[in-house]
């Protein structure tokens, strides 16, 4: 009898606790340990382990729920982020055959469904993108994974033993580990159960510090803490992260200010003073991003075929004015890497806003007051990493007038810009533009190769402007086959000096990648990277 009463009481206590828990769940603003983030993405990035929506997708739906063989070390805000072991514990380039790489896999790693990660799972995942006859072949995923150059030869990966795999590259690539950082690994068993990738997307299984659940397309996704994550230092401090896609800057602001989210990506520069005044913290840090004009050196009438004009226009960018316009959310760019970066080197040209110098160079190139250098720039109305393309370009147009540049615009929407960037600079898609204003990644050397290698010209590669410099290409070959870090770095620095002096791009600004968050968000370290570590963040 007594016992029954007790049980009854406990039951009441339990149910009321459950009820309270449920109530807390209904009011997400109050939920303990839930971090709500508004992304700029237009949609929840694909959840299948191959995130779309560019590097923002990788930031939020890549390193959260999944791991790559090689991860980024995002623990420091003071220096550019570098890579660190992920699902691979270590790797080595074969001394005798530099096209071969051996990766030792981390032992004891389990997917969220409890199945082990091993060489079979790794090869299975590579087949997903590189073997179109495999049953797990994923057309869209493959397009994204192979869209970033991987240099993996045809069939160039195999299992050596349970914890070792070997890659073969198309040519010796000294920086090969960097290109593996965006290929993620998912549970083959979970795919078998789901039957296809569309079903798998609803309950994706990876190895990451978070478990993706409750996927609602275009609305939100929950990332639950994975308390069994293999890297004990990176077990999330919050119980849950909820991601919301909010492409409209104003919507993100309203959501933050009205308490619907705790963290927004990229608040508009003009809102920052107000946000700070209202008690929000605004975090900025430099990250490897360039907002340039990619110059067309292929079109017959392009003034930018002449290196003097390319240098002149670099002397005619009012970078400080632009930074003021952006309320300090960007920093001036005078090269592909930042000036403080060891790889920046000592180029001859130290660009600053110097109309006299620009005029002098233009005069040497045969332009003058009666004959302004005319250039048409293709700009987009919006787009990933494009910051505020319209006011920024309109400001540049004005400031360049005083140096003798007559700049006009071909304004297109983001999709059209991407199509133009894919095609040759002389193709109709480029609409006779002399430059494209498209923001690009400058995270590591693989990106230098992507944008500037003479043999990587569009439509085959991503060197849109068809800039080709034999000295640069020579150094690049040296860098790719560098036997040690010292020679590698030397080559990279020399390459960068050429990039500044020969100026294939107009170096304009590096984005400061602002984020705004409530004071409840604690412990966020803003790494100098496109990616960020959400596991360190806690919420008060």
């Amino acid at each position: 009898m007594n016992r029954r009463v007790l049980t009854g009481r406990r039951l009441v206590a339990l149910t009321s606790a459950a009820w309270l828990g449920a109530a807390a769940g209904v009011a997400p603003a109050m939920a303990q340990g839930t971090l709500r983030i508004a992304m700029t993405a237009t949609d929840v990035p694909t959840t299948t382990g191959v995130p779309n929506n560019g590097f923002e997708g990788v930031r939020f739906m890549g390193y959260t729920a999944f791991d790559a063989l090689v991860n980024w070390d995002l623990s420091s805000a003071d220096k550019p982020a570098d890579i660190k072991p992920g699902l691979a514990e270590s790797w080595a380039q074969d001394k005798s055959d530099p096209k071969k790489w051996v990766f030792k896999l981390r032992q004891g790693v389990k997917f969220h469904d409890g199945t082990p990660f091993n060489a079979d799972a790794a090869v299975w995942n590579l087949d997903r993108s590189f073997n179109k006859d495999s049953k797990q072949f994923d057309t869209q995923g493959s397009a994204i994974n192979r869209g970033r150059p991987t240099y993996i030869a045809d069939g160039g990966y195999k299992k050596i033993d349970d914890n070792t795999i070997e890659f073969t590259t198309t040519r010796p690539i000294s920086y090969f580990p960097y290109v593996l950082t965006t290929i993620f690994y998912v549970s083959p068993t979970a795919f078998e159960k789901a039957g296809n990738w569309a079903e798998f997307a609803k309950a994706p299984i990876g190895t990451g510090p978070f478990i993706a659940r409750n996927f609602k397309p275009r609305i939100s996704i929950d990332l639950d803490k994975n308390k069994d994550y293999w890297d004990k230092d990176r077990i999330p401090k919050v119980d849950k992260v909820v991601l919301f896609p909010m492409p409209e800057a104003n919507t993100r602001l309203a959501a933050l200010r009205s308490g619907q989210v705790d963290w927004v990506e990229v608040p508009p520069p003009d809102s920052i003073a107000g946000l700070k005044g209202a008690g929000f913290s605004v975090v900025t840090n430099s990250y490897p991003h360039v907002w340039p004009w990619v110059l067309n050196t292929a079109r017959a009438d392009s003034p930018f075929r002449d290196v003097k004009v390319r240098q002149a226009i670099n002397y005619c960018v009012d970078r400080d004015g632009l930074v003021t316009l952006l309320n300090g959310t960007a920093e001036p760019s005078v090269g592909f890497f930042k000036k403080t970066d060891a790889r920046f080197g000592n180029p001859k040209n130290a660009y600053k806003f110097d109309p006299a110098m620009a005029k002098k160079l233009l005069a040497e190139a045969g332009y003058g007051p009666d004959k302004p250098a005319k250039g048409k720039i293709m700009i987009s109305t919006s787009g990933s990493g494009q910051m505020l393309p319209l006011p920024m370009n309109e400001f540049l147009q004005q400031s360049m007038k005083q140096c003798g540049f007559d700049i006009s615009f071909e304004v297109v929407e983001w999709g059209t810009m991407l199509v133009a960037f894919r095609n040759e600079p002389t193709a109709s898609q480029a609409a006779n533009s002399d430059a494209l204003n498209i923001s690009l990644v400058s995270s590591d050397v693989s990106m230098v190769v992507r944008w500037f290698y003479g043999d990587n010209s569009t439509p085959k590669g991503s060197n849109w402007g068809h800039w080709k410099n034999p000295a640069f290409d020579g150094l690049l070959a040296k860098m790719e086959s560098a036997p040690n870090a010292d020679e590698f770095n030397k080559a990279v620095t020399a390459m960068h000096e050429i990039l500044v002096d020969d100026a294939p791009w107009v170096w304009i600004v590096h984005d400061g990648n602002p984020r705004a968050m409530t004071k409840r968000v604690q412990g966020f370290v803003s790494a100098q990277s496109w990616f960020q570590d959400l596991t360190r963040v806690s919420i008060k």
């Binding site: 800057a249 104003n250 602001l253 508009p268 003009d270 809102s271 003073a273 107000g274 004015g321 632009l322 003021t324 316009l325 109305t381 919006s382 505020l388 319209l390 006011p391 309109e394 400001f395 147009q397 004005q398 615009f409 304004v411 297109v412 929407e413 059209t416």
Partner: protein
Amino acid sequence: MATQDTIVVPTPDAVRRAEAGKGYWTRVRERLLADRVTLAVMILLACIVLMAVAAPLFATHDPLASSVLARLKSPGYNGHWLGTDEVGRDLYSRILYGGRLSLLCGVAPVAFALLIGGSLGLLAGYSGGMINSLIMRSMDILYAFPSILLAIAICGMLGSGLGNTILALTITFIPPIVRISETVTTQVRSAEFVEAARASGARPASIIRFHILNNVLGPILVYATSLISISIILAAGLSFLGLGVTPPDAEWGLMLNNLRQAIWVNPLVAALPGAMIFITSMCFNLTSDGLRTAMDVRI
């Protein structure tokens, strides 16, 4: 969205008017002059149009000259009557210049649609039979798209830009204009005085010119005036979505789009382009109402 293409009610008035002859337009003028609200609105509208068309005369600043130090300032700042925009350009001057494109986006599609749709409707109504079916059934197809959907689809597919905006809106407005013009033409065609003209051996062209056009014009003009209002709002909406007019051209919708992030910094400045769209669109609607009453038209 802002579509008032209500169901077209047949207008026996057209016939009545046709019989009334010349005195009709005199009476319209008298009635208009007596309607003080419409008169005032028309004068305001004329001022807006004049100031936009002659923007260089009225502007106080270069609409493209920017200054990073004078961004988003309130009205009255340093000679900027209405303040400055997000890159420090004079808002008053930009609103004047912006009015040019906004009005163009309002008037041009309607004018083109009138020209094309009006002629198609005349043709359909006058010829009847196969030609009528062909034209009217194709219009039914276009009618199956809610108007803004059609405009967005066209602009989204062809890309943004002034030309495509005008094209998209023109295509959107053609079907309702064809319908009205066809309905009225059919009615007038069967009216006694047209039958009489035909019987007396008048050529089709002259019948159209003297009898039909004269009668079709009134209702169509009234409808078109209200369409201009819709056109301005739709064009601004397309710019707002990034599908419309492209910078650095000033256009009210685009200015609204660019300034909307300033709503936290300087709400008054951010709200101005929207207010201009509202006022102008309201003026066209009120004018249309006034004309409708004066012309005794029902659509």
